[in-house]
Amino acid sequence: MKTTHQRAHASRRGSALALSLMIVTIVALLSAMMLQLSSAHWRREAGAVDQKRAFYIAEAGLSEAIYGLLQGNSGIVGTQELPVRFGDGVFWTQAESDAQDIVHIESTALCGQARAKLAIAIELYYDNALNLGAFSGRNMTIGAGAYIDAYNSKNGPYSAPLPGAVLYRATVGSNGDVSVGGLRGLVPTTILGNVTPGPDKSVSVALGGNVVGNTSPRADSVELPLITIPAASWFGPMTVSPAGTGLLPSGTYAGPNMTIGTNATGTIVGPAIVVVDSLHLAGSARLRVDSSVGPVEIYVRQAMTTTALSSIVNVTGDPRGLSLWLDMSTRTGGVLSFAHQGAFHGSIYAPRADVAIAANAPVYGSVVAGGLTLAPGAQFHIDVSAGDLGSTDMSLSVLHWRPVAVPREIAGDLRYEPLADFAARGVALPAPGAGHVPIDMAVEYTRDDGEVRTFRGTEETFDRSVVDAVIEEVVQPPVRTENRVGQRRSWTDIDDPVTAKLKPVKGKRGMGPRDDDDDDDD
């Protein structure tokens, strides 16, 4: 039998429970509210952090693409279908060249729900003074009626630019003043490009002279490095008697002099390095350079003489195939008059000498000298790729950088989280180093907007939907190679001259006379 107290206790138990439940419910609601607020704030913070991460991942993508280009790859890293993993996100890059060989790279990055896309335009070049085009360490004089323009030997032989369509700008420069002549008869002096005098120096253009470009002075002087003479096997004097012929096969040669007599022809087959104290071309002597297999580099320590009837003929017509490195260490003054019969396709680097280009010797290539003078009526067609020869390292200059809008198909679905998606699909994303796309094909094409682009990469990474018309398509072009001769990087395969054997003609030591006729094709 229950007592009165027991019944009373029983009646009060329920109210305590209800009170407790009410308090717990209130606390739970407050906690949930706080959690909701914190969660919303955290999401905002996380979104901002992801956006920054995506931006920097895209930056990393640009760097990786540039690294790939410098290594001879296409600059394409990963694809939208299979991007590379970097940090907490992914990226892929696209790279193409335009008609001026400027490489345009786009890097797209996804991190969490954030997206970023950056674009950059870079110019790759070789660390080589020959990239200066026409350059004088001191004052420069361009005679009346002279003509200077530029072209790119990588795109084929020189052709005069169409009126109003300057594809490449000539680079004419000096550490001193530049004097541009006026009319020569009715022919004006014309320079299709920039003329850059030295710091605090100026360009004076005579009446009738025409400079289609900038003439602002440079900020700092250009220091012309002295020539480093490469090591070469001793060979002795290299002499071709008058009216005779001689041949130097591929290889490295060093000797006191190279002398080619009147009406004689000496041939050097590249790839070759020739180091001599002096180079003399007498009368109508001809030094023939066959650079169809590899470049020829001629180093002259002390003196070089040519005549108005002598010639140095580069049979390929490609300036990158011939370079004259004129050290002139014992020269104390005077002008190296580069008298020449006919066109000269090559580059001259003479940091200690004054070089004069004659009117009857049009130059296709680059001339960088301590002092440079172009005679009245001289013609100079600067090869913007001249620096590819004899270079040791590639460098780049960034022309343009900017963030670009992320395409709608990528930015549209903000719920898409790439890492989670690929993980769910069991797809292992490669690291950036493994995502570089090699060059298996090259396609020069016109885009829908009329721009000419060159794609290098693989068929799988080429988006043909953007192609309006294919100009040229090369499947499996030669891979870029590093060659010992100046560590040239080229699209052309070049035999390694280290393995080339020295082959004196007819058992003679030196460039002796040859009986067989030289089948000139120049």
Partner: protein
């Protein structure tokens, strides 16, 4: 109910039927103390949370504003930035040109842009083609203070010893190939607490 017999009389006692007044007063007192304490605790927590949240929101707002400024100036050409004020001078607005790309070997520049402080509203405004029919204007940020933190304007002194004299709440100072962006945000939250935050970022020109 149990009848109780006392001196021959019968009375009904109902002790278990409710609370005494004293019990109720004590219970109400305890409940009031608990509620007051809880409300004080909740209020303090809420205020702290709100202040923290407002500060974080202000930081986030500042970072987003600065990010926009940084990306815009990174895309600009250094020699296009006007005025290129160097310390101890500054400017609270900059005009610049943005590179759009390279065509035919030449850089293509977009319409001139401006980032500047609207003093009366404390807004950071971005303009394109200012003063033309195609003018575009976007508010990139708010709550910019009238002066930089620690700076008393118009006294000709560098009060906050940051090398800049009398700078406003948004200032641009060119230093070599970079521009230093400084910004002070001020906001009073719902609890009446004044929040002041200062931010600084160095931006390197990319073009």
């Amino acid at each position: 109910m149990k009848p109780v017999r006392r001196n021959g009389q019968t009375r009904t006692v109902t002790r278990e039927g409710g609370f005494t007044l004293l019990e109720l007063i004590i219970a109400a007192g305890i409940l009031a103390i608990i509620i007051v304490n809880m409300s004080m605790l909740l209020r303090a927590t809420s205020q702290t949370h709100d202040a923290s949240e407002d500060t974080q929101a202000l930081d986030l707002h500042a970072r987003q504003t600065l990010d926009r400024i940084v990306i815009a100036l990174q895309s600009a050409a250094k020699n296009s930035v006007i005025p290129a004020a160097e310390a101890p001078l500054y400017s609270s607005a900059v005009d610049y040109d943005v590179s759009l790309g390279v065509e035919d070997g030449e850089l293509v520049w977009g319409e001139p842009e401006r980032i500047g402080l609207q003093m009366d509203t404390g807004e950071v405004l971005w303009y394109r083609s200012l003063g033309t029919e195609e003018e575009r204007r976007v508010v990139w940020g708010r709550y910019v203070g009238p002066a930089m933190l620690g700076e008393s304007p118009q006294n000709g002194l560098d009060d906050n010893t940051n090398g800049i004299i009398d700078e406003l709440g948004l200032s641009f100072t060119v230093a070599g190939d970079s521009v230093i962006v400084r910004m002070t945000l001020e906001r009073t939250n719902s609890a009446g607490v004044a929040l002041v935050r200062e931010f600084e970022q160095v931006v390197a020109f990319r073009n």
